[in-house]
C-alpha cells in the first residue's frame, strides 16, 4: 500500500515539475518578456491616440525615426485604475498634445514599442501635478 502511494506521489511530482520547467513564465506579469530593461529609448512628438483602459493603457504618438521617417510609437502604461491615482484621466493626453517619452524599447524587431516610460512635456515638466503618486514611471502591472 505504502509503496504504491509513493510511486503515485513521485509520478505526480515529476509531472508537475516537468510542466513548470517547460513553461518558465508562470508567476508575475513581468514586462521582461516584451521589453528590454537594459536599453533606453527616447522620442518626442504629438499624441495620436490614448487608450485609457484595463488591464493596460496604451499611448500612441508620432515621432521621426533615425532616418527622418515618421513612425508611430506605442507606449504601454499601467491600468486605468492606477493611472487615475497619478492624476491622469482619459482627457489628459488629447490627440495633438506634444509629449516626450523615455523608456525601455520593445524586444520585437522593427517595432516602435516602449514600456516603463517617463512621459513629460517636451521641456521635461510633468504632464499633471498633484496626483497621489508621482508619474515618474508607469510600469505595466
Amino acid at each position: 500500500m505504502k509503496l504504491r502511494h509513493g510511486i503515485w506521489m513521485g509520478t505526480a511530482l515529476v509531472a508537475v515539475a516537468f510542466l513548470l520547467r517547460a513553461v518558465p513564465v508562470v508567476a508575475h506579469h513581468s514586462s521582461a518578456p516584451f521589453y528590454d530593461a537594459t536599453k533606453h529609448v527616447e522620442a518626442e512628438g504629438p499624441v495620436t491616440r490614448f487608450l485609457f483602459k484595463n488591464p493596460h493603457s496604451f499611448l500612441y504618438f508620432e515621432a521621426a525615426d533615425a532616418s527622418g521617417q515618421k513612425v508611430e510609437w506605442q507606449v504601454e502604461l499601467g491600468p486605468a485604475a492606477s493611472l487615475t491615482r497619478t492624476g491622469w484621466t482619459p482627457e489628459t493626453l488629447k490627440p495633438g498634445t506634444v509629449i516626450k517619452a523615455s523608456g525601455q524599447p520593445s524586444r520585437a524587431e522593427g517595432s516602435h514599442g516602449m514600456c516603463c516610460a517617463r512621459i513629460t512635456r517636451p521641456d521635461g515638466t510633468p504632464i499633471t501635478a498633484g496626483g497621489r503618486y508621482t508619474e515618474e514611471q508607469q510600469p505595466p502591472k
Partner: protein, 146 residues
C-alpha cells in the same frame, strides 16, 4: 459579435473604469474562486494519492459544493473579463486551450466525486486532475503573454 460584446455598457465599464472596484476587483475575485476550486480539488487529489489517510473519503463530499459554487463565481467573473476585451481574447489560441482544459478538469472532477462517494481511492484521476488544473492555470497566465 465580439465587437458588439466589447461595446456593451458593461464591457466598457470593466475596460475603462478607473475604479479599483471595477477590473482589479473582478480579477481578484476570479483569483479567489480559482483558489477554492483548485484548492478543494487538490485536497481530494492528494487524499486519493495516499496523503492524510486519516481523512475518511466520503467526509470530503461537501468539498464538491465548494467547487461547483466557486466555479460559478469564476464563470461569471471570467465572462466579465472576457467581454471587456472580447475582440482580442476571442482570437487567442491559448484562451481556447484554457477553456478546453477547464472543461476536461471539471469532467474529471465529476468522475472523482463518484469515487469519493463510493469511498474508493482513484489515484489515476488524482494525477489527471492535478495535471489538467496546472495546465489550465498555466494557459490562463499565458493569456497575458502570448
Amino acid at each position: 459579435m465580439t465587437a458588439w460584446l466589447e461595446a456593451t455598457a458593461l464591457a466598457t465599464w470593466v475596460r475603462t473604469s478607473p475604479s479599483i472596484w471595477a477590473y482589479p476587483t473582478i480579477l481578484t475575485i476570479h483569483t479567489l474562486g480559482l483558489g477554492i476550486v483548485v484548492g478543494a480539488c487538490a485536497i481530494i487529489d492528494l487524499r486519493f494519492l495516499g496523503f492524510a489517510p486519516g481523512i475518511d473519503l466520503p467526509s470530503l463530499l461537501p468539498l464538491f459544493s465548494f467547487i461547483w459554487w466557486s466555479f460559478l463565481v469564476n464563470a461569471a467573473t471570467g465572462t466579465l473579463l472576457f467581454i471587456a476585451e472580447a475582440t482580442t481574447k476571442s482570437v487567442q489560441l491559448v484562451f481556447y486551450i484554457k477553456l478546453s482544459l477547464i472543461g476536461l478538469a471539471l469532467w474529471n472532477t465529476v468522475i472523482a466525486r463518484r469515487a469519493v462517494r463510493q469511498n474508493r481511492e482513484a489515484p489515476a484521476l488524482a494525477i489527471t486532475s492535478l495535471l489538467l488544473w496546472s495546465a489550465a492555470i498555466t494557459a490562463g497566465r499565458l493569456m497575458a503573454y502570448l
